[in-house]
């Protein structure tokens, strides 16, 4: 597998001579929402008609160790033996995220399916439910990884595209088929839980109404203080970590996706089951950067596997904390990757990755997720 990465800016367009792009079968792109509407993607599709062109909107584009806003980054992947196939699903008025996941997975089932790359709408979907749906259908050993599209810090609408169809409320899943295809993953947050355990006393799906009998929004406002006016974005500073009873070490971090003043509730990127204990989490930039480095560590391939593409899916919440130093975490990741590994990614509203290499898939929030793709020769 070979990968060429390229950057598109509104001023300069694509920085790669598209004529020399080779014969990629898969083109992945991540771009600013507005930028995606510019026709740049269409250009790619025209230039490479045999390739699957998939991508989504972001809360920041990652190209190497640089973060861009307002741009589009793309990776052109050429395979040797590996087939790719992509399916998409439009979300209807009433939908069940889990069912959608199942459906998509079913459509991808095929011989030698090794991996699924998932790009999902970032606002409307219950990410954890979506992944569960995938889990139920995908054969054991087949991992789904990917992320929830972003929309800067607006939390308005996100776009996901397959070919020329770039829409909101869309999910695209790409299946990689072939005996040689391989992938490795790593995700790490760097967030630290603090304070008492709080019981989710009232919640519904991914919306939490009460913690310890108190309105959830109140708690956030209290901790944010002056920053409360920036909700829901500033809510990203205090993701809620779900404490699993059976795996007290494994704290699943959940990002705020939205708030509701009327019900004093807070909506998260994944399921927040009633009766689960949670803790507020915080992180310093250093912690986050260290976390990113660790994610890369975890993702470091074992054996002979040489990744051809490093897909970085970080979280918009990290960007908020990191501020200027967002590229520091990218550097930290790259430091831990084999040098000159083509690196592409985006800041998302949610990351999809297994906990460990062979662990089950989960929706992560506020993490740096490193997905290494390649073919074993």
């Amino acid at each position: 597998m070979e990968t060429l990465t390229t950057l598109w800016t509104p001023e300069n367009g694509w920085d790669l001579d598209l004529q020399t792009g080779g014969d990629p079968r898969l083109i992945l792109y991540f771009g600013n929402r507005k930028a995606l509407g510019s026709g740049a993607i269409h250009e790619l599709g025209e230039r490479f008609p045999d390739a699957l062109v998939c991508g989504c909107s972001t809360s920041g584009e990652i190209h190497g160790a640089t973060v861009h806003d307002g741009a589009i980054v793309a990776a052109l992947c050429t395979f040797h033996g590996t087939r790719v196939h992509a399916v998409s699903q439009q979300l209807p008025e009433n939908f069940d995220s889990r069912e959608v996941g199942r459906q998509l997975a079913e459509n991808l089932i095929g011989q030698d399916l090794k991996h699924v790359l998932l790009l999902s709408d970032g606002i409307h979907v219950n990410g954890s439910a979506l992944i569960e749906g995938f889990q139920q259908v995908l054969p054991p050993g087949v991992i789904a990884s990917g992320g929830l599209a972003g929309d800067g810090s607006h939390f308005g609408e996100t776009l996901v595209g397959l070919g020329d169809c770039i829409k909101s409320r869309q999910i695209v899943a790409i299946g990689f088929y072939g005996p040689h295809f391989d992938a490795s993953f790593g995700a790490c947050g760097g967030w630290e839980a603090f304070g008492p355990r709080r019981l989710i006393t009232r919640s519904e799906g991914n919306t939490v109404f009460e913690l310890d009998g108190q309105p959830a929004l109140q708690l956030y406002k209290r901790y944010l203080g002056e920053l409360a006016s920036g909700l829901p974005a500033t809510g990203l500073l205090f993701p809620l970590g779900l404490v699993r009873g059976d795996e007290p070490e494994q704290v699943v971090v959940r990002t705020i996706l939205g708030i509701d003043e009327a019900t004093q509730s807070v909506r998260f990127a994944g399921d927040m089951p009633e009766g689960t204990f949670s803790r507020l989490m915080k992180a310093s930039a250093e912690q986050l950067i260290d976390g990113a480095a660790e994610a890369a560590e975890i993702a470091r391939p074992i054996g002979d596997f040489t990744p051809s593409l490093a897909l970085l899916v970080s979280c918009v919440g990290r960007r908020l904390v990191l501020g200027q130093r967002a590229e520091d975490e990218l550097e930290a990741v790259l430091d831990n990757l084999p040098p000159s590994t083509p690196t592409l990614g985006f800041y998302s509203y949610g990351e999809v990755c297994p906990h460990h290499r062979t662990g089950s898939c989960a929706l992560h929030n506020q993490t740096m997720t490193v997905i290494l793709l390649g073919e074993n020769v």
């Binding site: 008492p196 901790y223 500073l237 501020g323 200027q324 130093r325």
Partner: protein
């Protein structure tokens, strides 16, 4: 550079030589660094804020927790305290301090209060002070040594018994405290006591039971023995009962047999004694025969009493239930004692209350028997005065039954109070002197009582010695259809309005008679003296006068009678039946007639009507002792020559019955004189007479007749000898015919008729049966009552007699059959039942010849003849005018 971070600014100032303007890269770096500083600061602030907030939260949480905790602890504490205090026991903790056990803690206010301890002061007390009994301290000491203790304390002042448990509490292997629990076990103790008592009780009872059981066992043994004995006794009793039953059966057989066997020879004795009397006897023989008759009659009475009594006692007495005329029965009963009463001058009469029915149903014989007994006793034991019989009746009940009350009162010697109770017991006599004076079997009243009871009544006696006695008995009966021609005590058209005068010194019978006449509608004047009678005549004319014999036979009376006769109302004389003829003799035409006293109501009525009634056509009357032939008057001059007064009496009676009143001659000489003096159509000449006998007298009379050319009188011999030889003698003596004695009226009548004047009215006579004639004869020789009794008994026994013959024939016992037939033959002849006599004789002969076949063949005929004969006898009784029904054999 104004937006450079102050810290950086300060740091830059320390490097004055640094010229940023000339180094744009440096400037850029400074900017980035400054920004980074800002970022750091912001982050720091942010983190501080976070920390503060977190701390605040923590503090709050802590405070909350602390409060909650405290509250919780308070609540728990309170709960705990309450629980401890309210639980029913006392939980306490104590420890040894120096010599005493000090109470640290004591909870359980209820028991504490009940023990009389002060809840508040408890924890200042020592154990010794609380538990006064020093013996308990040993337990505390042991507990202090580490032994668990359990013991009881009796708080007798509070009536509470407690169980105490002491538990040593250790710390570091040393006992530092004793925890105790005191529980109220008073009730359990009480229960224990009760249980123990009950247990003792039970043990005692068990012992008793065992004792009783042994007693019972021995009793059972005894019972077994008794039962065996009883079974034996019962068997014996059954055997005795069987014996008694068969004895009873034997008794009744005996009674039946005896009744017949005894009466028959008795009747025979009596009958033949009578017959013997009719024969020619010397005076001495006559006396002997009289004595025999008297004794036989007395014996018969005794036998009858005894047999009756036996019959009653063995339950064989049957009470009949037939309609009969009460009036007549009463009259007859009184009639039997009328002579005795008259001889003593006792005023005897029967009074019927108006509501007493004239005819009733019941056993007329037994009623008569009772009445006869009681009235007879009354007369017997009354030296003078009166004997009243009063009969009353109550209202009929729903079934139509009425109760008659018969009250016999007398003015006799009375009965002492101590004797009254024993009066009706058999074999009682007032005292032995009484029995000697008055005779009797002592069974009479006992029989009366039994009979009365059998007839559904009760009998009682009251008496005052020397004043009199009252015997009262009741009878349950019903009104019967009146026999025709019975005289009712209601106004009679033939007598209504007529006046009658009664002269009688005897108050009772006078008042009874007066009442009777008044019931018949007459107006009655009574007088007890002649002068009174004369005065009452002044009140107005009378139709009838009734004068009592006693008054009539005084000189005044005789004159008064003549006065009445001359004034056109010759009186009727009331006298005993025996004097009926005598009085007629005495007064002749001066009197209208004689009436027997005590009154026989129906005959009296008939007589009254005949003599007194205004133009009222009498209905054919039932004439007592009258045959139609009495209507006929014989214009005959008759002489009766008979020396024997009885026979003379009989003959006179017989003649009177056919309306003849002969002259009397008591021997042959008188007969001769009379025949010479007078011309007689018929001379009845007794053959056997003292001095000149009848044959001689006849011869002499015939001589005289021949001498004086006088047409010869018809001389009829009266002879007891019915042998043909005698007849010849009579005829040879010059007699025309002969009549055997006892005189049969029938024959006498025939004889007179055939020897009477040819222009005499043809003799109309309804043939009178032999039986009637014989019975009439008997009635005269005995009394009507006795004759009827004999006839009744004959009829009663007839069937039994025939049965005896048949029974013996069945047993092929020809000897017994012959004996019975012979007996029947004899008794039928007494009553003149010739056909029966023949039939019985035939059977007797057959049996004597041992020809049982023939005897059996003759039986049906005998039966038939017997039926006829008994009916004949019944009719004969009726013909006597006795309205007692003696039932013919069916």
């Amino acid at each position: 550079m104004s937006d450079i971070h102050p810290l950086l600014l300060r740091q830059l100032r320390r490097l004055p030589q640094l010229d940023l303007d000339s180094h744009p890269d440096l400037q850029r770096l400074v900017t980035v660094v400054g920004k980074t500083y800002e970022d750091f600061q912001t982050q720091h602030q942010f983190l501080s804020h976070t920390l503060e907030t977190a701390s605040e939260e923590l503090t709050e949480a802590n405070e909350r927790l602390r409060q909650e905790s405290e509250s919780r602890i308070r609540d728990l504490s309170k709960l705990f305290e309450e629980t401890l205090n309210e639980q029913p026991n006392i939980i306490f903790r104590c420890a040894r301090h120096e010599d005493a056990f000090q109470v640290h803690l004591a909870r359980g206010r209820r028991l504490i209060a009940r023990l009389g301890w002060n809840h508040n002061r408890l924890e200042k007390e020592t154990i010794a002070m609380l538990i006064e009994d020093p013996r308990h301290s040993i337990h505390f000491l042991r507990a202090w040594k580490g032994e668990e203790q359990r013991f009881e304390i009796d708080f007798w002042h509070a009536n509470i018994v407690c169980e105490v448990i002491l538990l040593p509490i250790r710390e570091n292997h040393k006992v530092k405290e004793i925890m105790g629990v005191m529980a109220d076990i008073t009730r359990q103790k009480a229960a224990e006591d009760r249980l123990r008592h009950a247990s003792d009780d039970l043990t005692r009872r068990a012992e008793e039971l065992e004792k009783n059981r042994r007693v019972m066992l021995s009793m059972i043994e005894d019972l077994d023995q008794s039962r065996t004995r009883i079974t034996q006794e019962r068997d014996r009793a059954n055997a005795l009962a069987d014996e008694a039953a068969s004895a009873n059966r034997a008794k009744s057989d005996f009674l039946a047999t005896m009744s017949h066997e005894i009466r028959t020879p008795m009747n025979g004795v009596l009958g033949f004694a009578q017959l013997l009397q009719q024969t020619i006897l010397s005076d001495q023989q006559q006396d002997f025969v009289s004595a025999i008759r008297t004794s036989a009659e007395a014996l018969l009475r005794v036998i009858n009493d005894v047999l009756d009594f036996s019959k009653i006692e063995s339950g064989h007495m049957e009470i009949e239930d037939h309609p009969f005329c009460l009036q007549t029965s009463v009259d007859d009963a009184l009639g039997t004692v009328s002579t005795a009463a008259a001889e003593k001058g006792i005023d005897l009469a029967a009074r019927f209350e108006p509501n007493v029915p004239t005819s009733i149903t019941g056993d007329s014989h037994r009623l008569r028997q009772v009445l006869v007994n009681l009235v007879g006793n009354a007369v017997k034991f009354t030296p003078h005065g009166e004997v009243r019989l009063e009969i009353s009746a109550n209202k009929p009940d729903a079934t139509g039954e009425i109760e008659l009350t018969f009250r016999i009162s007398d003015s006799g010697i009375g009965i002492p109070a101590d004797q009254i109770g024993k009066l009706f017991t058999p074999f009682h006599q007032q005292d032995s002197s009484t029995s000697r004076r008055f005779g009797g079997t002592g069974l009479g009243l006992a029989i009366c009582r039994r009979l009365v009871e059998l007839m559904g009544g009760t009998i009682r006696a009251d008496s005052t010695p020397d004043v009199g006695s009252v015997f009262t008995f009741t009878l349950r009966t019903r009104k019967a259809e009146d026999l025709p021609d019975l005289i009712q005590p209601v106004p009679h058209p033939g007598l209504t309005g007529l006046a009658a005068l009664i002269l009688d010194t005897h108050g009772w019978s006078r008042s009874v008679l007066a009442e009777l006449l008044e019931r018949w509608g007459m107006s009655v004047r009574v007088a007890s003296t002649v002068s009174e009678a004369r005065s009452s005549l002044l009140e107005g004319p009378i139709s009838t006068a009734l004068v009592d014999q006693g008054s009539a036979e005084t000189p005044e009376g005789i004159e008064f009678v003549r006065e009445l006769a001359e004034s056109g109302t010759p009186p009727l004389i009331l006298c005993p039946p025996g004097d009926l003829v005598a009085e007629r003799d005495r007064f002749g035409d001066a009197i209208s007639g004689t009436v027997s006293k005590p009154l026989k109501v129906s005959p009296f009525f008939n007589l009254l009507i005949k003599k007194t009634a205004k133009d009222w056509v009498p209905t054919p009357e039932v004439q007592p002792a009258a045959s139609p032939a009495e209507k006929e008057q014989f214009e005959l001059r008759l002489l009766l020559a008979e020396d024997n007064p009885i026979n003379r009496k009989l003959a006179l009676a017989a003649l009177a019955q056919i309306g003849c009143t002969p002259d009397i001659a008591v021997d042959g000489q008188e007969a001769l004189d009379a025949a010479v003096r007078e011309r007689y159509d018929i001379i009845l000449m007794d053959v056997q007479m003292p001095g000149m006998d009848g044959l001689e007298a006849t011869r002499r009379i015939r001589e005289w007749e021949a001498d004086h050319q006088v047409p010869p009188a018809k001389i009829i011999a009266l002879t007891a000898n019915a042998l043909s030889g005698d007849r010849d003698l009579c005829l040879k003596a010059g007699m025309n015919d002969y009549l055997p004695k006892p005189i049969k009226i029938h024959s006498l009548r025939d004889m007179i008729r055939s020897n009477s004047r040819p222009d005499a009215a043809p003799f109309q006579e309804t043939p009178e049966s032999q039986a009637t004639r014989t019975l009439r004869q008997l009635a005269q020789e005995l009394t009507v009552e006795d004759a009827v009794t004999l006839a009744a008994e004959f009829n009663q026994d007839l069937e039994a007699q025939i049965d005896s013959i048949r029974h013996s024939l069945d047993l092929r016992n020809d000897e017994d059959a012959r004996r019975h037939a012979h007996s029947l033959k004899g008794s039928s002849s007494i009553f003149g039942l010739e056909d029966l006599r023949h039939a019985a004789a035939a059977v007797e002969k057959a049996c004597a010849d041992r020809d049982l076949n023939l005897a059996n063949q003759l039986m049906p005929d005998l039966q038939k003849v017997a039926q006829t004969a008994s009916r004949e006898l019944h009719d004969a009784v009726q013909a006597l005018g006795v309205n007692t029904v003696i039932f013919p054999m069916s």
